[in-house]
Subunit: 551 residues, 2 copies
């Protein structure tokens, strides 16, 4: 299979255009029907596949970093009378189960990134629907803060997945309808059963869109709304964006290398190792100096590289079940960068960097691989990088030093970053989730900020799963990895999806937990994917035949 690459830039977009006009950007969807990621389907009517969403994800990201002046983003269609027909059905019909699940996960993350931009970057998204927004098309709109629908007696919003395809509006659709738009459940039931959707005033009354606008006033109304929303943003005036330049990445057979991240792949053992290197550079002398570094500012570099590594493993290395997380470098330098981020917190770019790191860590949380953090001498699990240990399913820490290694014993150093910067999807921090049963432990750990905690103490504090002496380390790790490799990959995925998210639930955890799990279930049912199933037969002119058993 061709490697899926999550890196792109506007010069290579085939499906989207970014047009900026002062503080408003227009993000224009104009999908090239011939531009599918694979052969065998045409992306008609602005339907999309993963490739289209990779561009969207890139655009959302660049708007935040490269366009500080943009305070409102209008998503609209570049085609007349067509907004977006959603995920391409022939693509879904041909895709493997794994690809469907991966596709939905990534598109969900992109929609959440849009919401994160509106909420936390005050780069607020508006969706201007001129034409039909069906299925994933309406789910894209649902990610916006404000939904406008043209009132032309034709354009409608719809979630026709269930009646048409026997699957769910699984890119957050069902959850956002009830929990974000707060549509009454019986109306939601009706809405999700109507192929043609709902239009005009009724769409407003049912809370499906925020306003409808006559065709004659459409363009001005959208522009006016965008300017009004932009005026409420706190984004800076006169700031200069930071270009996200191509990653320094080298892909080899068993290795992907970046400037500060390496991924080593051992396919025979189903094992990958991600090594994140701490900063080689000093902390910038000033906020201006950090801006001048641009995407070479260490926290931003690491966020980009780690994100690409995680996405690569998900999409291109499905048979890798376990990922070892290592760090390498100077803990104090990591903490110094955290301190810098903290001091410069009022700066728009530093805010973006922190929210980006948050999103990358969330990608780890929903990645279907077992993560095991290895905390050894020479590592730098401190502050932001300590979150990697807390994101892991297990962590192993070496007690003392190794023969012939004169580096200091391994330590975890907590920083303020561990106490609120990086909430998980459940809305609380990894430490709060970890210590759900002993919340006072989080308070007492906060008093240890800045103090290196060595292995035995870290085990006692509950910061690591196991602390081993050097003479046990290799055996313990080997046995653990062999054991993990012997388990069913599906059971691991299900187990991790449940154990990682203790405590409160949010719309986000509902989407990745409840909705996604049901969709994945349906994606395996004969009624959807069997020879007589709706996904398989869509477009063939033959009606699906359903087994009638209700489960």
């Amino acid at each position: 299979m061709t490697r899926i690459d999550f890196q792109t830039d506007p010069s290579r977009y085939r499906h989207w255009k970014i047009e900026t006009n002062g503080d408003v950007a227009y993000l224009i969807m104009d999908v090239d029907p011939a531009g599918g990621l694979s052969d065998g389907y045409e992306l008609k009517l602005n339907s999309y596949d993963l490739g289209v969403d990779i561009e969207l994800n890139d655009a959302v990201q660049r708007l935040r970093f490269e366009h500080p002046e943009v305070r409102a983003v209008v998503i609209k269609s570049g085609k007349d009378n067509v907004f977006c027909a959603g995920a391409n059905i022939r693509m879904l019909g041909k895709a493997t189960h794994g690809h469907k699940v991966n596709f939905c996960k990534f598109t969900n993350e992109t929609r959440l990134a849009i919401e994160d931009a509106s909420e936390n970057s005050k780069q607020v998204y508006i969706c201007a629907i001129n034409g039909n927004a069906a299925g994933g098309g309406y789910e894209l709109a649902l990610a916006a803060d404000h939904i406008m629908l043209v009132d032309d007696r034709r354009s409608a919003v719809a979630l026709p997945e269930t009646p048409l395809l026997a699957v769910l509006p699984g890119t957050g659709g069902l959850t956002r309808v009830t929990d974000k738009r707060k549509v009454r459940r019986d109306r939601a039931d009706v809405f999700c059963s109507i192929e043609e959707g709902i239009r005009g005033a009724k769409a407003v009354e049912w809370r499906l869109v925020d306003e409808v606008v006559p065709n004659s006033k459409w363009k001005e109304a959208v522009a006016a709304r965008a300017h009004e929303i932009a005026a409420r943003s706190d984004r800076p005036a006169g700031a200069k964006g930071v270009a996200l330049t191509p990653l320094a990445r080298r892909i080899e057979a068993d290795r992907v290398s970046y400037s500060h991240v390496d991924v080593e792949i051992d396919r025979a053992r189903g094992l990958a190792t991600i090594i994140v290197r701490g900063p080689a550079q000093d902390v910038p002398a000033s906020v201006e100096a950090a801006h001048a570094l641009g995407d070479k500012f260490w926290p931003l570099t690491v966020a980009r590289e780690l994100e690409d590594a995680i996405l690569h493993l998900r999409a291109n290395e499905a048979a890798i079940g376990v990922v070892l997380l290592r760090t390498d470098g100077n803990a104090e330098a990591v903490l110094a960068h955290d301190d810098f981020l903290s001091r410069a917190n009022g700066d728009w770019l530093m805010r973006e960097v922190r929210h980006y790191l948050k999103r990358v860590l969330k990608r780890v949380d929903v990645t279907p691989k077992s993560f095991i953090a290895l905390i050894e001498p020479g590592s730098c699990f401190a502050g932001t990088l300590a979150e990697l240990a807390f994101a892991a399913d297990r962590s192993l820490m070496l007690i003392g030093t190794r023969d012939g290694d004169n580096r200091a014993p391994a330590a975890i150093t907590l920083g303020q970053a561990n106490f609120g910067w990086y909430p998980m999807g459940n809305g609380i921090t990894r430490l709060q989730t970890r210590f759900l049963g002993e919340p006072e432990q989080v308070d007492s750990l906060e008093e240890k900020i800045g103090a290196p905690v060595e292995a035995e103490e870290a085990a006692e504090f509950g910061l690591v799963t196991f602390a081993y002496e050097d003479f046990d380390w290799d055996d313990e790790l080997r046995v653990m990895l062999e054991e993990r490799a012997s388990f069913s990959p599906d059971a691991m995925t299900g187990m991790e999806a449940n154990l990682r998210f203790a405590g409160p639930e949010t719309m986000e955890t509902k989407i990745f937990g409840r909705l996604t799990a049901w969709q994945n279930w349906i994606f395996q049912r004969p009624n959807a994917i069997g020879e007589q199933g709706a996904l398989k037969l869509y477009g063939s002119g033959v009606s699906p035949t359903f087994g009638r058993e209700r489960v």
Copy 2:
């Protein structure tokens, strides 16, 4: 297939014994290996199938109603050195997908009923584990308020589903470990990967049990703990229980009839109609009179009959996709019974009745059928019975009267029961869930308590989905039912599981949403159920072969 019957009584139990000793009851699990619901498996080592759980459910229910004097219930094993080996694996290996899902749903409901008894009836459950509590065995223990484990260097608690069977501890296990016991997630990961489980002091340290007790002091320690916990209960002294007598039930080919509930089955259309009849009796003159009625007290009768009807449809009528909900009777009589329940709220039996109605309504919420309430002249959707309309996926209400029918137009009458008596699994009422986007609407509806609301007003208030005139009614209903019948049953199940539970999430909704959905997904994966899958090969001596793809 043999009809599965959810009715039983202690004289027929093959697997459980109830022994009472003052304010403590012992619920003793002693599974008859030959007493499986189907052939082809032996229930060794206190492993269980649906039949064992039907008895447990019955016992939990009877303890609440028939034993007001019991303030603490100790679940223990009747076998030496064996607590419970969990769900029977050969049974699971042979079961259809639908049966597995139904089995897990019912056992989940039983565990939640145990928790409901501890919390709301102050009949507090203790689990006394003498031997291994593995898989569903430990999940049963997790439902208790207090878990005791004998410290004999042998007895352990374990969730070996993942390493042994390639499925999840899906009867609430993963969720209760993280969210009820609040076990640290990395320890939970370790615990769920260890076949042999965890015993002794470590089980306490890891929060898996509340105490361990040496073998020599076991019996006295359990009794002492039970008496101590019983002493804290507010259950009445000297009260007399109410016997749950056999249901007045007649099962025919296309109909199940009870005293106040009828179920009509139209298999050709995949349709069932449940008719609930309002009280024919006057409100009892006093609390004593209500006690004297026993299980003939209308609210209790209706709860029992409706529950049995729902369970019957789930287990024995899988091909029924849509259930019409009708009521028949006098709304004022329903409300008078609600008022009686409210006035007598301090009485233990009235409290039980209300909590039981709550649990029955929750069974509707998690039943994989589309529910459509039909509100017509002669119906009595008032107070408690109005909840049926709010539990439905859709409701249709007739405007005005029908030709030749001189009954008053249909009305919904709200009662105090609709404003807090019957929270859903998400912890809020059906009206709060319904009006998540307009919470003020709930307040303004509370002012309408007692006033009959006719169709057009009900539609305006958002209480019903559609209001139709008589001349449209039949066509609209017919089209709706034909449409519903044309959809994929799986997509309906997934859609309803998502749309019914807007708003907050609780441990309960997490269990039915996240955990169950992932388990159902895994229950379809070749790694579990394929010819080389772990569930299929368990006990054969052959190791399963897993596809390595991580999804």
